[in-house]
Subunit: 254 residues, 2 copies
């Protein structure tokens, strides 16, 4: 059994709360947060409080607040004996107080409001400063996920950057595709089988080997034709720049 | 029963051949191509020829060659009574000879060598110049796919452009993520659950509503931090430009 207190009441806190509530070997003692409306989500199941001076003694304090607020919340925990972990991709472990046993519990996933996540396949990146604490936070992580990885603060910073490319930026390219379809009375869902195939290939092929298209073939007439079709300045620039990056990757120049 | 001749012996021709061979209501009379080595793929199952003067009479001639070669192959079919269709995303129907009944049969998918495609879910975009021919090419398409759409040459041109964004360019972003992981001794597969969730959301959410990340939040300190981490000039430019495009989409300026 591991006793925990969750600090934070937003989207990530809710998802973590829901999955930990299902675990017999985890006891959530409290949820602490500043937002009373958000706290109502938890109050029928566990004790909630907006008072950072009334935090119970737990084995692990799990901070799930916005990056900017982590240091401040960590300060309120300085006198606690339990381990203090945050759940951010881009904040180093040293943002927590050196007076605590520190750690990180970073679920590498994009959490949407109202959509349940099956944590079993979510990679959880853990970090701690000694073997016993790696073991403790690792045990907590393995209760909900089959994909627990020890990742240093430096690696996590890069991982977060990579995640921005493959998630946020990819989603923007999907939006551009959506926009183009809408402009020409085409249903966006016509592109979904192609998108799904692009992703399925990653299971067995490196993206460098899977690359196709006009830039890969250095097919300049198609590229010019496409650039002429684009009216939106940003879209045109994105097309030209990614095409350049692809071409150069294969030793060509556009 | 529809009788067809396939012209071309490359990747798309092979995938179409394989799926049509499974259909009882399609009779492949011949595969015509210039590349003898490629033709050997078909020769045990049907008649093959490199001679464009020995093309049999069929109801539909299906041209599956590179965009540049379509017009030349079409010329060789000028005296045929059957309908002539090409399978390209970016070539207009008018690239075929006006002496023929013309059409388009464009499967919107990325075909990899050696990987079988389940055509049932592949959108097939069809076009023809009269109702009877739309019906004929539509009947051929519906034999292999449950997702047949009538799409004009103008729309198809835009669709092909959108496909470049959501498939080719997305794959390059996956490569950048792969590169960043490799540089920091992280396994790329740690990003796969995130990538799959990004795509699964498209089933019930427009990409504009699903957008998250530092650019969406206009979180300038994280953006600057990420830009400083990137050494590759193209990656840095891509990061800055897509972030700008996302921010402006939500009425902000970076």
């Amino acid at each position: 059994m591991i006793s925990i207190v969750i600090l934070g009441s937003g989207n990530v806190a809710k998802h973590l709360f829901d999955t930990f509530m299902e675990q017999k070997e985890v006891k959530i003692l409290q949820v602490i947060g500043r937002n009373k409306v958000n706290l109502s989500y938890f109050k029928n199941a566990v004790e909630v409080s907006t008072d950072f001076n009334k935090i119970k003694d737990a084995e692990i304090y799990l901070i799930a607040v916005s990056d900017d607020a982590i240091a401040e919340v960590a300060n309120a925990l300085e006198n606690k004996k339990g381990m203090v972990v945050h759940s951010s991709g881009s904040v180093p472990i040293t943002a927590l107080s050196h007076k605590n046993r520190r750690g990180v519990f970073y679920p590498l996933q994009s959490f949407s409001m109202g959509k349940t996540i099956d944590f079993k396949s979510v990679p959880i990146c853990i970090e701690a400063e000694n073997t016993a604490d790696v073991e403790l936070v690792g045990r907590l992580a393995r209760m909900i996920s089959n994909n627990v990885q020890e990742v240093s603060s430096k690696q996590r910073k890069s991982l977060h950057l990579a995640a921005v490319f493959v998630n946020n930026f990819t989603n923007h390219l999907f939006h551009i595709g959506h926009d183009i379809c809408e402009d020409h009375n085409l249903p966006f869902h016509i592109l979904l089988p192609l998108i799904k195939e692009t992703v399925q290939k990653l299971d067995y092929m490196a993206p460098l080997d899977a690359q196709t298209g006009p830039a890969r073939r250095n097919d300049i007439s198609t590229i010019e034709n496409h650039l002429n079709q684009l009216k939106n300045k940003n879209y045109k620039d994105i097309y030209a720049l990614i095409s350049k990056s692809i071409s150069e990757k294969y030793g060509k120049e556009l």
